[in-house]
């Protein structure tokens, strides 16, 4: 007999996500046979940006998400640099990477310990660990106690990663130092030495605590190496430019289809967004970000999400640490719940080690800023990665003001609803066939969701404007 289960809110993620799964018995196993993911917050950032000075954008767009603000700051100044035709000095490129890298380290550690671990831990008798579901908690008391201790230590580590980022960024979250043409902070020697001292604390934690914990969890829950695969399509814009033209990156741009080891290129004109199942007017469906429209419409028949459905050449793609590490050739063990956690932990180490190299490349007395000559009409695109995946900002200006600002965020890719061809989004697909032992405590569903590290604030701001938003109200509705 099929049963529909709602999980709303899905906790231990950023933002507002509702999940509906239909569960039924298939071949003697109770499992998910249908899934719907709903983004339940809409703010309309793009509308706020239209008419503003383009250089406000990195400040405003950082507030799309407080867990991953820095990627938005980075994408925004990259789009502005491209639009204004300016190249940031090397010191600025490095500091932008150092603050972004600190955000990645903080976010990945936070994700494993504070957002994910409670799916597997039956912790002490107090919040936040309790009350909790009891289903399928396999860890013995000693391991549980150790992980609880690591959870608390990880709060200290994420704090330190943010302090490290603030040394150059000004404050974390939402560092104000990002600006078109460079960076505001000077790379003073005392900041450099403090940054290195923080890395000397974070690296041992990543190597000796975080990575082993992920491995230990994966050993006890090894069945999760075969749960939550989804489509196996992986996409990355790439991140951490190693040179001034962005051709060489720490993690490269590319995409893989259905778990293939060959990496294909990305042509931006292949990106479209469906809205049939989203609360936007159907006339705006399947448009490329450079030419689209966002006209919110609620209520709307069949729609169930404030997220649109981004597709590449019509196909859904997963983004995130696994996608980046796969495309870059650093991780090809598999695509599953546990593979996502493994890849994320390994990526944390890779980035932290790179930060150590980069901070030593700073020139304390070197330039940090090249003043751009800002044309009154301009356009530029900034493509980078947030911890959760590929992120793009599309900027257009006219008469010196923003005329269009479009953003496609990682969680929009991952947690998207059905598209016009009724293909599920990556997270919905990954939920299919997931075993559910206890209908009252569908912990398996939570584990699949959390493996994606969803960030719903990011997912739902997308817009493309040209017209003012119109609201259609169906008569008689609340």
């Amino acid at each position: 007999m099929s049963t529909k289960i709602f999980i709303d809110p899905v906790t231990r993620l950023e933002g507002h996500l509702k999940i509906a799964v239909t569960v039924n018995e298939v071949g003697g196993q109770q499992q998910v046979v249908d899934a719907r993911a709903s983004g339940n917050l809409y703010r309309g950032f793009e509308q706020l940006l239209v008419g503003r000075d383009p250089r406000d954008a990195q400040h405003l767009t950082q507030r799309i998400c407080g867990v991953c603000p820095v990627p938005h700051g980075m994408a925004s100044v990259m789009a502005q640099d491209a639009a204004f035709g300016v190249t940031a000095p090397t010191n600025a490129r490095i500091m932008r990477n150092l603050v972004l890298g600190a955000n990645f380290v903080q976010s990945h550690i936070l994700h494993f310990y504070h957002l994910t671990a409670l799916d597997y831990l039956d912790g002490p008798a107090m919040p936040p660990w309790q009350p909790s579901w009891k289903a399928d908690k396999r860890l013995d008391k000693a391991t549980t106690d150790t992980l609880v201790g690591h959870y608390v230590a990880a709060i200290d580590m994420t704090r330190k990663a943010h302090e490290m980022g603030a040394l150059f960024g000004g404050r974390m979250p939402d560092p104000a130092a990002y600006i078109a043409g460079g960076f505001t902070t000077t790379p003073r020697a005392d900041r450099i030495s403090k940054y290195k001292a923080y890395l000397n604390e974070l690296l041992p934690f990543i190597q000796n605590v975080y990575l082993p914990d992920v491995a230990a969890l994966g050993a006890v829950y090894s069945d999760y190496n075969n749960i939550g695969r989804g489509y196996g399509n992986l996409l990355a814009f790439g991140v951490f430019d190693l040179d001034s033209n962005g051709e060489s990156k720490l993690l490269r741009r590319g995409r893989s289809v259905n778990g293939s080891t060959s990496v294909n290129s990305i042509e931006l004109n292949q990106i479209t967004e469906s809205v049939r199942y989203s609360w936007y007017e159907d006339s705006t469906t399947n448009l490329n970000p450079a030419a689209g429209k966002t006209l919110p419409q609620s209520p709307k028949a069949k729609a169930y999400s404030w997220l649109k459905a981004p597709r590449y050449s019509g196909a859904p793609y997963e983004v995130g640490a696994l996608a980046r590490m796969w495309v870059n050739g650093d991780y090809r063990q598999g695509i599953s719940v546990m593979d996502r956690h493994q890849a994320r932990a390994q990526e944390t180490l890779k980035i932290a080690q790179a930060l150590q190299t980069w901070v030593n490349q700073l020139q304390p007395n070197g330039a940090v800023y090249t003043k751009p000559a800002i044309p009154s009409t301009a356009s530029g695109i900034g493509l980078t990665e947030a911890p959760r995946g590929a992120l793009g900002h599309w900027l257009q200006t006219a008469s010196g003001q923003v005329s269009s600002y479009q953003i496609i965020t990682p969680t929009c890719w991952n947690a998207s609803p059905l598209d016009d061809a009724s293909q599920m989004g990556p997270l919905e697909k990954a939920l299919m066939d997931t075993p559910v032992k206890d209908l009252k405590e569908p912990i398996e569903v939570l584990r699949v969701i959390h493996s994606f590290d969803p960030c719903l604030s990011c997912a739902v701001h997308v817009s493309r404007p040209n017209e003012k938003a119109k609201v259609q109200v169906i008569a008689g509705c609340c």
């Binding site: 709602f6 809110p9 339940n40 309309g44 799309i64 998400c65 919040p127 909790s132 608390v152």
Partner: protein
């Protein structure tokens, strides 16, 4: 924790008006304070970005042992340096030269004040979407139980969108009914012993409410008519949040300005406390030790003690990174003027 009845009555007399609590609300707060596990806190998130919760997790007030005075709780001992220092009238920190002690902040000792300490030892965090173990209806049931009992502190992060019938933000689904954030806030604000607006969005709408305010975002007081203690900032500062919670629990009065902000932190402008006040004005980006006013700094129009409190365990703050203040603690934030002056 227990606050003596005498201290509590003193608190009532001095500060009821200041925190805007009615007699019945004071009764609820007294019950909350008397709870051995600490007050129940329901933390809601609406039309925001979670930045204030992330900032809260960065809390660190050092580990020095402090004397306990009459009426002080042993539970909050670690936070007393934070609450007893007069942040408003401290001398601004001198401009740092090359730093002889490059070591980062120490790991917390047993008496350090950290976010973990607050969450685990000092309050009963009944509901927090980012941190709590339970999900779905079982999670909402925790908030409902606290609501039924009364006497809880309501912390709101993010504003409340009212367009689309409130459907631009859903709080949860309960008994197969979807509940908008607007409905959840109206309900929970009604029986709260106190309401803390965490961040500029909850206080007055913040960035999502910037023109044209596409989703009709409102702050908590504007929506409900209830008095709130507003801890603004985009994000807000963890010290500011904890200070307010500690004041409430120790029975100390909180003086608020006409925008509901504690004057302890928001009584003086950034500019008046800034170490660069009076220094040569910067004419371009990236120059240390220059006043940033001509670059568009909103310090003169922004109430906040950032120059003294600084950020992230005092490692830096916006202006010391040569980034002009964007005025994130003000009711009108972000406003319509550009953050950088023309020609910068």
């Amino acid at each position: 924790m227990n606050v003596s009845r005498r201290d509590f009555l003193k608190f009532c007399g001095l500060s009821a008006a200041a925190v805007g609590l009615s007699t019945s609300e004071l009764g609820l707060l007294e019950k909350a304070l008397a709870s051995p596990s600490g007050p129940s806190v329901i933390w809601l998130q609406g039309s925001g970005c979670t930045g204030c919760s992330v900032s809260f997790l960065n809390l660190f007030t050092g580990g020095a042992s402090v004397p306990s005075g009459p009426g002080s709780s042993t539970k909050f001992k670690a936070f007393l340096p934070l609450v007893t220092r007069d942040w408003q009238h401290s001398e601004p920190a001198p401009n740092p030269g090359p730093d002889p002690t490059p070591a980062p902040s120490p790991s917390p000792g047993p008496s350090a004040g950290t976010a973990a300490d607050v969450l685990i030892n000092n309050i009963n965090l009944v509901y927090h979407p980012n941190l709590m173990s339970l999900a779905g209806q079982d999670a909402v049931a925790q908030a409902e139980a606290a609501y039924n009992k009364g006497g809880y502190l309501l912390a709101v992060e993010g504003g409340i969108p009212t367009a689309f019938g409130g459907r631009a933000c859903y709080a949860w689904t309960y008994n197969e009914q979807e509940v908008t954030f607007e409905q959840a806030v109206r309900t929970l604000a009604d029986k709260a012993a106190g309401i803390l607006c965490i961040g500029t969005c909850a206080a007055w709408g913040g960035i999502p409410a910037a023109p044209p305010n596409p989703t009709g975002v409102m702050g908590v007081k504007a929506l409900t008519g209830k008095d709130t203690i507003n801890i603004p900032g985009c994000p807000t500062h963890p010290d500011w949040i904890v200070w307010a919670v500690v004041q409430l629990l120790l029975g100390k009065p909180i003086a608020l300005d006409s925008f509901g902000r504690p004057t302890q932190f928001f009584g003086t402008t950034v500019h008046d406390q800034c170490p660069r006040n009076g220094l040569t004005k910067a004419t371009t980006i990236g120059v240390d030790n220059n006043c940033l006013m001509d670059l568009g700094c909103r310090g003169p129009a922004t109430m906040a003690n950032c120059p003294l409190q600084k950020w992230n365990n005092q490692v830096n703050w916006c202006v010391d990174a040569n980034a002009p203040c964007i005025g994130c603690t003000e009711p009108g934030f972000p406003g319509t003027n550009p953050f950088y002056a023309p020609g910068v």
